[in-house]
């Protein structure tokens, strides 16, 4: 096992403009916000971003003008309302938005993780999403070869880079997700490059003593970054809850046309 510990800037160097990216977490939980801040700062852009149910990660990247295409089953701030920058960018035709449905994006990521060209997925047929995705080449209605009738096949999602914020990792890239995992293990295994950002760097002995806690073994990992509070203001289970006040402050600043100010501050946070 080699040492893969780098700083945020070196990790950002692994990303290229135009890459397809996916991030850990959902909504206000375990989003790799520190990495996203540095990514915005790097000036790279034209990303395609894909996720199940993102939130501020997508919204702020879009606000910063880094995104060409966003693909997700839902993006928003739940009870706090719509994602203001996603909404604006889509309504103004600034970015392409591909609406997913959870089961399909999950199975697309699982296909990527399993090294399969596609996975079938139930449901969906009869909704207006089918036509949209068939046109884009993401889905195709096929016949179950064993006589079960029509079913949607979803093409494997293989992001160029997955950025996964975890609670604990060692310097070699063994990583431990505590509590909710969402699709993060699949994302990590599907992506061509995997960047782990971690609240804590633990000795490798931590994993030798608890091999079951090694949810993402080092052989998947390209780089590890030590970033305490790296998911802030979203939550990191066992470390800190979402900072709802901070999320509300972001939304307020967006509404007041001060998103650039927020981004400047956000970039300087790490």
């Amino acid at each position: 096992m080699k040492d893969k510990l780098v700083d945020l800037d070196a990790a950002v160097d692994l990303v290229g403009s135009g890459d397809t990216l996916t991030f850990s977490g959902v909504s206000m939980v375990r989003k790799p916000m520190a990495f996203i801040a540095k990514l915005i700062q790097s000036g790279k852009k034209d990303f395609t971003i894909v996720d199940r149910e993102p939130g501020m990660d997508f919204d702020i990247l879009i606000a910063a003008g880094c995104v060409k295409c966003a693909r997700a089953a839902m993006v928003g701030f739940e009870l706090f309302g719509l994602a203001p920058n996603v909404r604006r960018a889509v309504q103004e035709g600034e970015i392409q938005f591909i609406e997913e449905t959870c089961g399909a994006v999950v199975n697309g990521l699982r296909a990527g993780a399993m090294g399969l060209p596609f996975l079938p997925v139930k449901g969906i047929i009869g909704t207006d999403l089918v036509e949209l995705h068939e046109k884009l080449g993401n889905w195709k209605i096929i016949n179950d070869p064993f006589g079960g009738g029509e079913i949607v096949a979803v093409k494997a999602i293989v992001p160029d880079v997955a950025v996964i914020h975890v609670q604990k990792a060692d310097r070699c890239g063994n990583a431990s997700l505590e509590g909710s995992r969402f699709e993060d293990v699949y994302k990590a295994k599907a992506a061509k490059k995997l960047i782990i950002t971690a609240e804590e760097i633990v000795p490798t002995d931590y994993f030798k003593e608890n091999p079951e806690k090694n949810t993402i073994p080092y052989c998947y990992t390209t780089a590890v970054v030590h970033v305490p509070k790296g998911a802030y203001p979203t939550a990191c289970p066992n470390y800190y809850p979402p900072d709802y006040e901070e999320v509300l402050r972001y939304l307020k600043m967006c509404r007041e046309g001060k998103v650039k100010e927020y981004i400047d501050e956000f970039i300087r946070r790490w």
């Binding site: 089953a73 928003g76 739940e78 959870c102 089961g103 139930k122 999403l129 699709e183 709802y244």
Partner: protein, 245 residues
């Protein structure tokens, strides 16, 4: 009584003991309904949720604004990846799911995607989440809206994100608004009950289509005991936030 509490009681009453229920993001009322059911008539309900705690401990629960808040999993007996809930649904083992609906038509089909056209939306909505995937494969679909209005109950959806009534399927579709309860059947949306404090005229004047009316009840509000449970689970009234928009 706040309509949220009436809605929670209606949602809870859809859950039978032993059933498997799931809620997603932005779902404070479904979360409270699932706990209310578990603490009253459905102690063996299986609680699956976007925060990925299986059967969180109601004693340790407090409602926060994000349904995925990790504290919502407190005291759970296992981690249930949402992918696992989706697999259970694919096997026909998720009995019920709660979904919102920005637009709902008379067949209880829903739009959560956009107002206007998909390509050039007037309003880009948050998106359907699991609606397209789960709506055709669960046995009970409970749709809710806090905005009983002609803009919600529409003649024609701008986009069909989720599927409501399906003929010949073992599937029940219930619509719970802030004014009334409906159930979808072949010929349309049947009015089941009107919430206390609302008249039939309130309900009908705010819909773009006619529901089927053939006798209806007054919606049963939560009892004092049930209100205590709801208030204990949500002491800061997060559940009312959805109504402020």
């Amino acid at each position: 009584m706040h309509p949220a509490d009436v809605m929670i009681k209606v949602m809870a009453s859809q859950i039978k003991d032993g059933e498997v229920f799931l809620h997603g993001l932005a779902s404070p009322m479904p979360a409270l309904a699932m706990f209310l059911a578990k603490l009253t008539h459905a102690p063996n309900m299986v609680y699956l949720a976007v925060a990925e705690g299986i059967d969180p401990d109601p004693e340790k629960f407090k409602l926060y604004p994000s349904s995925a808040d990790p504290r919502h999993a407190a005291g759970c007996i296992g981690i249930g990846e949402l992918a696992e809930a989706f697999d259970l649904a694919a096997k026909g083992k998720v009995d019920g799911m709660f979904l919102g609906g920005a637009q709902i038509d008379k067949h209880a089909n829903i739009n959560l995607t956009c107002i206007g056209s998909y390509d050039k939306p007037k309003v880009k909505l948050p998106g359907g989440a699991a609606a397209a995937y789960l709506s055709p494969i669960v046995k009970k679909l409970i749709l809710w809206t806090t905005n009983h209005s002609k803009r919600t109950f529409v003649e024609k959806l701008d986009f069909k994100t989720g599927i409501g009534y399906e003929k010949g399927k073992d599937k029940k579709v219930v619509v719970v608004s802030n004014m009334a309860v409906f159930e979808a059947e072949e010929s349309g949306l049947r009015l089941i009950s009107v919430h206390p404090g609302f008249s039939i005229d309130d309900v009908l004047s705010e819909m773009s289509f006619e529901p089927i009316i053939d006798g209806y009840a007054t919606t049963q509000p939560p009892s004092d005991e049930e209100m205590k449970i709801i208030q204990k689970l949500d002491p800061e009234n997060v559940r009312y936030l959805e109504f402020k928009k």
